[in-house]
């Protein structure tokens, strides 16, 4: 029913997909797996008309289609359910289902027809916990997902794409989702199911397509593979690139958590030592960034012991000597319209420690900002140079612990090596470093120890130089056979 052939796509000259083929038949659940950033979501967004593809063809029922707008895809029978729902919280269920195409009778919106049609679809899905008139904001996340599915059904979708549908669900809600997926399947609807969680892939899917680094690895019948096979297919690649030599000595403990927890994290036991780089691995939504923010005091722990202090606010965290290089440097790390100097002095000024303008130049040279122009607005710098300014910002307060969240995302190769060197240098100087990264080679190359998170808990700790497969197995919660 659906055939995608040779799909290729580049963003700003960076190739994210090339030569991907995908074929789907009615009534099948087709899982798409791959590491973070492998290109799964981009492929699905092309199918949904959000992005246009540069190469290849898409055929539905043998007819070649080309989607310029999400509505085109909708009309062709493709519905996509994002992780972030496209619903209006202040409107009712049926108003959301029929948004933009409300039924009309004698020139007026026919609310009765809307409600009846919605109620019928809800009943068909076996959903009795809420009715068509409930406001969407009063529904749980799982119920909102049902609304999205009802919307897809009311559009007569024949291909439903689900992007990480269980990411936001609680354990017991996952069962309900399985039931919904099977109902769709019974109706002859093809479900494209994107997930990191291998258990779901094996529970639900008929076929699996593995994508790696924007390329198709293979498509296989799910029953013909084991989870070990899948993990190997997802990560199997050569380790290459240069990383600075590891530290030789580990110093005193700079920060320690025992039984740390909040609404996203549970039972966190973690020790960060001077001179050591601890890598944090985990899938999206596993609580990696949440861990960094809890240690820093931005979204604090509500349970557990922490030394030297358990920060309840960012200021307490900074006072205790903790710095956070955030994942999103543009919105969380820098004041983009201000100068390099003002950004470098952001933290010292905020903490009321007399800012020495004279020291800025030296600092910028130390972080290897080239050229070290203090007056330039930060927004004109490259990603790598911006990251160096963020580092300089923290070095002004001489932190004891530095937390890096995806420090080299969107950074060119040269700057990446410079940042790696700098991290190692800081560690040698006695700073305890924690680094979150989705890029396994980086984690393996840089870390002295790798802590793997899964669903807000520590799933295990691996020594330096562990294999990618070992990390992925822990992170994905491989089904033991």
């Amino acid at each position: 029913m659906l055939t995608m052939t040779g799909i290729g796509k580049s963003f700003f000259g960076v190739r994210v997909l090339s030569g991907v083929d995908l074929a789907v038949v009615p009534g099948e659940v087709h899982a798409i797996v791959g590491e973070n950033g492998a290109g799964k979501s981009t492929l699905m967004k092309i199918l949904a008309g959000v992005h246009a593809h540069d190469e290849g063809t898409i055929e539905i029922d043998g007819r070649r289609v080309s989607f310029g707008h999400p509505l085109d895809a909708q009309r062709a029978g493709v519905a996509i359910i994002y992780q972030e729902f496209n619903l209006l919280p202040e409107r009712t269920v049926s108003e959301n289902v029929f948004l933009g195409r409300e039924p009309i009778r004698r020139g007026l919106v026919d609310r009765t027809a809307m409600d009846t049609a919605t109620a019928r679809l809800l009943a068909e899905l076996g959903e009795a916990s809420f009715g068509p008139r409930r406001l969407v904001k009063r529904l749980s996340v799982a119920q909102q997902q049902v609304v999205e599915i009802v919307k897809a059904l009311s559009l007569d979708a024949r291909i439903v794409v689900m992007d990480e549908p269980t990411a936001a669900l609680a354990e017991h809600e996952v069962e309900l989702l399985y039931r919904l997926v099977r109902r769709l399947q019974e109706r002859g609807i093809a479900v494209l199911y994107i997930s990191h969680r291998l258990r779901e892939v094996f529970d639900l899917s008929d076929h699996v397509t593995v994508i790696k680094d924007g390329r198709l690895v293979t498509t296989v019948a799910t029953e013909d593979v084991t989870s070990e096979d899948l993990v190997r297919l997802m990560v199997g690649r050569d380790l290459n690139g240069y990383f600075p030599p590891r530290s030789t000595s580990v110093g005193e403990t700079r920060l320690q958590v025992t039984g740390g927890g909040n609404d996203r994290l549970h039972d966190i036991d973690l020790k960060l030592n001077a001179g050591e780089i601890v890598g944090i691995a985990g899938l999206q939504g596993s609580g990696r960034s949440e861990l960094a923010k809890a240690l820093f005091g931005a979204d604090p722990f509500t349970r557990g012991e922490m030394t030297p202090v358990r920060p309840r606010s960012v200021r307490e965290g900074i006072r205790a000597g903790v710095g956070l290089v955030t994942e999103d440097r543009k919105s969380e790390g820098l004041a983009l319209r201000q100068s390099v100097r003002d950004n470098a002095l952001l933290v010292t000024r905020a903490m009321g420690r007399g800012a020495r303008r004279s020291g800025v130049r030296e600092l910028l040279e130390r972080v290897r900002l080239k050229p070290p122009r203090e007056e330039q607005e930060v927004r004109y710098l490259s990603g790598g140079n911006q990251q160096k300014v963020v580092l300089a910002k923290w070095m002004t307060v001489a932190p004891k612990v530095l937390l890096f969240d995806e420090p080299t995302r969107g950074v060119d190769v040269g700057a990446k090596a410079a940042i790696h060197d700098l991290m190692r240098e800081l560690a040698e100087d006695g700073v305890a470093i924690m680094m979150i990264s989705s890029e396994l080679p980086e984690l393996i190359g840089m870390s002295d120890r790798i802590v793997v998170l899964r669903e807000g808990r520590i799933a295990g700790t691996l020594p330096s130089g562990s294999a990618e497969e070992a990390i992925m197995s822990l992170a994905a919660g491989e089904v033991s056979s």
Partner: protein, 332 residues
């Protein structure tokens, strides 16, 4: 099944504490407290005179606020209504020039000018992507400049027959209040029963969701601003009929720009759009008018009056924010 019943009763409770109910409960409370205070003071609160007074005072603001409700629901707002009211009053009085025969022409002219202003506002906001605050502020200044250049005081004259609109009443109900009720009913009907209304809520709720659902969001914003300006135009006609002439300061003296926004927000609408309704706004306008009336009867210092009004508005919005905070937290 029992889960269902529980959920339903919870929904019913939620309906009771929704902002529209809150504003009418507050209105009832203010009437009661006002009645008690005035009685202690030795006066009588609910006389024919005060009831009529409240209605007359609120009619013009009420009409503007209904238009403002549409703009705010669509995620926009309109600061140009005050100067547009002045402009409309002048266009009306000057065109009528005291002649009965010119009334129809004058009303048509006012509607035309208002629609044009709304069109300009809407086009700037949707097509040029100028923020509504700046776009309508700019249009205000333009109208202000034109008025300042052409008039330095009241001008034109409306015929006696047109003054009935401002002063007559049917029993206890002034004609102006009926006009307000009619405008409010039309807006309520548009919002609740037509495709246009559903689109306003969608655009104000989340532009991206609306766009991906195939709604032509620009068109919705433009129509909304035209309607909002038409309401201001009607208010201008009403004020011209009261004054017997047009005046370049009638809109700004009444503070109709910020006051109408305050009334809408007091009525429980989210300033960001997508939540609220005409009923809440009517409640908000009445609440402000009754407060006014109580203070007048008690002969309270007018500065103190403003302090209390300010407190009421801020407290109301804080209360609504808590409510939505309790149930609206998702998407972390």
């Amino acid at each position: 099944m029992s889960q269902n019943v529980l959920a339903d009763s919870r929904a019913r409770f939620a309906a009771l504490v929704n902002p529209t109910s809150v504003v009418f409960l507050a209105l009832a409370a203010v009437i009661l407290v006002g009645w008690a205070l005035v009685a202690v003071d030795g006066g009588q609160f609910l006389t024919m005179e005060t009831v009529v007074g409240v209605q007359q005072r609120s009619a013009a603001l009420g009409i503007v606020a209904v238009g403002q409700t549409l703009a705010i629901l669509a995620g926009s707002l309109d600061l140009s209504v005050a100067y547009l009211i002045s402009l409309a009053s002048l266009v009306a009085a000057v065109t009528m020039a005291g002649q009965d025969s010119n009334i129809v022409l004058a009303v048509g002219a006012v509607m035309g000018v208002s629609a044009l202003v709304g069109l300009v506002n809407g086009l700037m906001i949707s097509k040029l992507r100028v923020h509504a605050f700046i776009a309508t502020l700019g249009v205000s200044l333009i109208i202000k400049g034109i008025l300042g250049d052409l008039y330095d005081g009241p001008a034109g004259r409306v015929p006696e027959s047109f003054q009935h609109l401002g002063y007559d009443r049917l029993g206890p109900v002034p004609v102006s209040a009926l006009l307000w009720a009619a405008v409010a009913l039309v807006a309520w009907f548009l919002l609740r029963r037509t495709k246009y209304g559903y689109r306003v809520y969608a655009v104000g709720g989340d532009v991206e969701v609306a766009r991906l659902s195939g709604i032509r969001t620009d068109r919705v914003i433009i129509i909304t601003h035209v309607l909002c300006s038409l309401c201001a135009g009607i208010a201008g006609l009403l004020l011209a009929s009261r004054l017997g002439a047009g005046a370049p300061t009638v809109g700004t003296d009444g503070g109709y720009d910020l006051e109408s926004i305050a009334a809408v927000v007091l009525g429980g609408a989210a300033l960001a759009g997508g939540r609220g309704g005409v009923a809440g706004t009517v409640g908000g306008v009445l609440l402000l008018a009754v407060l006014d009336s109580v203070f007048n009867q008690l002969e309270v210092n007018s500065f103190f009056k403003d302090v209390v009004r300010g407190v009421v508005i801020v407290v109301a919005v804080a209360v609504y924010a808590r409510r939505t905070g309790l149930v609206g937290r998702r998407r972390t």
